[in-house]
Amino acid sequence: MIEVSDLTVRFGGVTSLDGMSVTFESGTCGLIGPNGAGKTTFFNVLSGFVRPGSGSVKAFDENLLAMPHFRRARWGLRRTFQTEQAIENLTVYENVAMIHEHSRLSSSTRQDDVLGAISIVGLDDVTNTRVATLGAGQRRLVEVARAIVGKPKLVLLDEPAAGLPEAETSHLGEIIRGIPEHTGAMTILVDHDMSLVSSCCQNTAVLDFGKMIASGPTAEVLRNEQVVRAYLGAEEAA
């Protein structure tokens, strides 16, 4: 369970998160909102790249914000980035094993864990291939494998389906739906593809201009008038 209360982040004059309070209960949760709503900023707060002006984040009863950023991975926080961040000069195996290496997880199970994660995302054929030679879709899967290897507690997926063709998106959806069963981790999914969000997430929260405007079961939230207005504002008015 992730309890976020009164989280505020300001960059100069811009308020990216404005008193954000929300509780992500369990399983896979969606976080949606129009561009610039503050979703990535929220992830950056969780990762420790951005220090919030005020507010607190409690993750499984631990004060996440008090942890040094590189130690959060060791604790079990994993994430993917909007811009591809799989390391090009290393193989798929090395990319995934890196998380394991730096998380103080037992090295005796490393190989099995890493190969397991690679096989969950379906990259078995390219285990020992350098990432530089892979396509965009496969690189995205490498990142997902990095996020689920070992024993993650909280997985943050930042627009994993952006720019992927439909077939790859649906493959990705299957993998995301499998995360709770394979790892037992909680997942927060940010994406603009509503069909992906609604097929993966039981609950969804909606950010708009740094404020939470709705949260609850995904289907209900997506029918919420305020949410529809925030998303379609201009078209609705026309």
């Binding site: 590189f70 991975a73 730096h102 078995d124 285990t127 990095r146 299957e174 499998g178 069963e181």
Partner: protein
């Protein structure tokens, strides 16, 4: 739920995927290649080269190690240091001081100068690592300037007493001693190459294992590295420590190679030239360091031999930096095979065209 079940069955392959070996096969391959190359070099070169060139090749060995250290910083981690020649001077100074003050075996002196230089380099690196790349480059440039100043006033030990070990009034300055097994120039050349090879293997080992992978992650994206749980500050510091260590050892080898050290021989400009040849040789490649060493030490020796001013080399290095940065960021080692392949394709294309042209039209 159904889709999840389907996923599980789909995701578990019938045959287990190939497990990669713990330490890449490439590492042992390369270590073996290095061993063979070293043997060839130390047996053949002293036989066919004049003493002048043997001495030049000793310098090549020294500077290849310095370039190797800088290559770790530039190529692996993405940090630019403009003060590496100053670090070499520190290593040489420490070694010279120990050689005069003690009768320790030469290998111990080398190790000690590596370790002391590493400590100093790390202390300097510590604050610098909090800064972004450009600031780090500039602060190391200033540091190089500062060390040049200190050396000019402190001087290299010449057998005197006290902390500095320098006595300006000394009439007979004793040469620095060499290891017992390497008294002559050819023998010292062999000794230098072996030490250099050990440093290469040390760096190669780092690059191929956990720190190397962490550096690759840091170079590509610091946030992603942090998100992967990598203590980026620690690994950057590690790179600094490793680079300083091998450079310090190189300084120790240099001390025995020249036997008389003068502060005038270590200038701020050398650090810049060093970066230039490392970029030209190819900072990404271990072999680029050898190319850098050859550019920096063998080429001037050849020019000197045939009576051409070495100033031309400085100009060449300047052009080289601009060329590498604008067109071939991977350096000569990576670029040459591509250029040769392109040339071969071009010649092949010409040959084919001429052969088709020769075919008589029906």
């Amino acid at each position: 739920m159904a889709s999840t079940a389907q996923l599980t069955s789909e995701a578990r392959p019938t045959s287990p995927p190939s497990a990669p070996p713990r330490l890449e096969r490439g590492f042992w391959m390369r270590a073996a290649i290095i061993a063979v190359a070293v043997l060839l070099v130390i047996i053949v070169l002293p036989q066919i080269l004049s003493l002048y060139y043997v001495d030049a090749m000793t310098q090549v060995a020294v500077y290849a190690v310095v370039a190797l250290g800088l290559g770790v910083l530039v190529g692996r981690v993405g940090l630019i240091s403009l003060g590496q020649a100053a670090v070499l001077a520190i290593g040489a100074w420490v070694a010279a001081r120990l050689l005069f003050a003690t009768s320790l075996p030469y290998e111990v002196v080398l190790l000690a100068s590596g370790v002391i230089t590493m400590l100093l380099g790390t202390i300097v690196g510590l604050p610098a690592l909090r800064m972004r790349g450009l600031y780090l480059a500039l602060i190391t440039l200033m540091l190089a300037g500062a060390i040049t100043v200190v050396l000019a006033s402190l001087n290299f030990p010449n057998g005197g007493h006290g902390f500095s070990g320098y006595n300006g009034a000394l009439l007979h300055i004793p040469p620095l001693r060499r290891p017992g097994i390497a008294q002559t120039d050819p023998a010292y050349f062999r000794y230098s190459v072996v030490v250099a090879a050990v440093m290469f293997v040390l760096v190669l080992f780092h690059v191929r294992t956990k720190p190397g992978r962490a550096w690759a992650a840091i170079r590509q994206s610091e946030p992603a590295a942090l998100a992967a749980g990598i203590n980026t500050t620690m690994y950057k510091l590690w790179a600094f420590a490793l680079a300083s260590f091998v450079t310090g050892v190189a300084g120790g080898v240099l001390a025995g190679a020249v036997r008389y050290l003068y502060s005038i021989d270590f200038q701020t400009q050398d650090s810049i030239t060093l970066l230039a040849v490392v970029l030209m040789g190819g900072a990404y490649s271990i072999w680029g360091a050898i190319v850098a060493g050859l550019l920096l030490q063998l080429l001037p020796a050849i020019l000197n031999d045939i009576g051409v001013s070495p100033d031309w080399l400085v100009i060449l290095f300047g052009i080289g930096v601009l060329q590498v940065l604008t067109t071939a960021p991977t350096g000569i080692v990576d670029q040459m095979p591509k250029d040769i392949a392109r040339l071969a394709r071009f010649i092949g294309g010409l040959a084919r065209r001429s052969s088709t042209a020769k075919e008589p039209a029906p």
